[in-house]
């Protein structure tokens, strides 16, 4: 009769290597074997020394009404000041924070929608500047030629090859659609221009 695998009996599986063999082969094997040597054991360590000399930190001045989760009692004393909300995307973001808690899918879905709107607003805005968005340089796609784009993929057993073709569509399709829209709009205008 064939040997019965481990989980069907009470025995424990045999070790492939002994502790001595592992210690000889792996630098530092077992130096943290004792949980007391592991810095996150136990998970909570009340009274841990952090360097803070305050019970509640001084408040950072709010330069604009800071959006906040409704699950917070107030705006936290310290916060980031990168990229204040602006435009239609900003209005969507403020709505998501004001209306929905973090527990609601709508909160996150509206924020994701605002991200897409923000990208569009920013692309359009960039065309009115001396440095319009450039999908070639900003995607870094030219590194395909300088950093072995083909040989990094061809003949390799990579699971991501089956979906990488979607990436150029995600990046390029909105630009193609915008171009198409511009052509259609121009043609329509020309058609309706008085002779």
């Amino acid at each position: 009769m064939a040997e019965i695998p481990t989980p069907y009996t009470s025995g424990t599986p045999a070790l492939k290597e002994t502790a001595e063999e592992l210690r000889a082969r792996i630098p530092g094997w077992g130096v943290d074997l004792d949980p007391a040597d592991r810095p996150s054991y136990p998970r909570e360590q009340p009274g841990i020394e952090t360097g803070a000399r305050w019970d509640f930190p001084e408040r950072q001045p709010e330069k604009w009404p800071r959006e906040r989760s409704v699950e917070h009692a107030f705006v936290t004393p310290v916060f980031g000041t990168s990229t204040p909300p602006k435009g239609i995307s900003g209005a969507l973001r403020k709505y998501a924070y004001r209306k929905y808690s973090e527990g609601r899918a709508a909160h996150w879905l509206v924020l994701i929608a605002a991200d897409r709107v923000d990208a569009w607003e920013s692309h359009l805005r960039s065309f009115a500047t001396l440095r319009p968005d450039n999908p070639v340089t900003e995607t870094g796609v030219l590194s395909e030629f300088s950093h072995h784009g083909a040989s990094s993929r061809v003949g390799k057993k990579r699971a991501d090859i089956n979906h990488q073709w979607i990436d150029p569509i995600l990046v390029g399709a909105p630009w193609a659609l915008a171009g198409l829209g511009a052509v259609v709009a121009l043609r329509t205008l020309r058609k309706h221009r008085p002779a």
Partner: protein, 382 residues
Amino acid sequence: MRSMVYRGPYKVRVEEKDIPQIEHPNDAIVQVKLGAICGSDLHLYHGMMPDTRVGMTFGHEFVGVVHEVGSSVQNLEVGDRVMVPFNIYCGSCYFCSRGLYSNCHNVNPNATAVGGIYGYSHTCGGYDGGQAEFVRVPFADVGPTKIPDWMDEEDAVLLTDALPTGYFGAQLGDIAEGDTVVVFGAGPVGLFAAKSAWLMGAGRVIVIDHLEYRLEKARSFAHAETYNFVEYDDIVVHLKKATDYLGADVVIDAVGAEADGNFLQHVTSSKLKLQGGSPIALNWAIDSVRKGGTVSVVGAYGPLFSAVKFGDAMNKGLTLRMNQCPVKRQWPRLFEHIRNGHLKPSDIVTHRIPLEHIAEGYHIFSAKLDDCIKPLIVATSA
């Protein structure tokens, strides 16, 4: 100053920005010398993290020199060479005072479920990050630490996230002597988790990925047994067979939101953003750990729901443990491991990219070109 700027999904560029200012008495401004792109930065780059705004500067792994300090800062001086943990935290709230630095309640008005992280969307507090020449560092007396003289800057930058997160992931597994540990993902965090599992006495460490060059690194750097899941019809069944049908004692998910291996899961999350993350590795972890075993999750996921096989986790009596790593808690012990030669974090660095070429850096890392494992970003002024 020169600064990386997000321009929408898959697009970044370098722009001129104002040098950040002191906004709170315990702030410092740090001149960045060396930064890195983290695998989790790719979730932002791909537009997966809600409230990622055009114009934001990413980067939560960086070291540099103190350029300016606020009026209440006592522990740092201008000119100090510092390493900055990716967590922004106050040190005094309910959570910080218990050591849960990554769960600080005083630094992120945008969400209560996550603390503050440099350059990681407004969902993580709306702070600009360190892929720039200068960065604002809140709570300078709490987070940053002077880099020891003996420490290499490349090792120091990897101590700001990747190494502590991998080490923490192994700790979450509650590894006992002789345990079989499976690590999903042979990226920087997975490699460090595998290496750390040995320090905690694992008897067998198995790493799973689909990128052959990373599996080679897992063998040479982390002394691990490796399997490429593409070569198996069902990696879970293979792992069961490899463990005599028992399953692993501990499984670590070091992949997170953009896991590959199931087209539908990947596309609905990474491409269509209909899930908080692609839970392929997490589901494989649940299925390949033994009953009563532990699944440790250090791969990052977005806040939206994901299709996780929770029923199996419940029926198998699993312990699921997870968190963002409280980085600074790991440092004293990791410093010892580096000094004693047990760990050499910079061994995983494959690319050193000037800040001006960061768009190429993101593409190389995202598309896994050129056997890329860990790209560092060298600041313009460094």
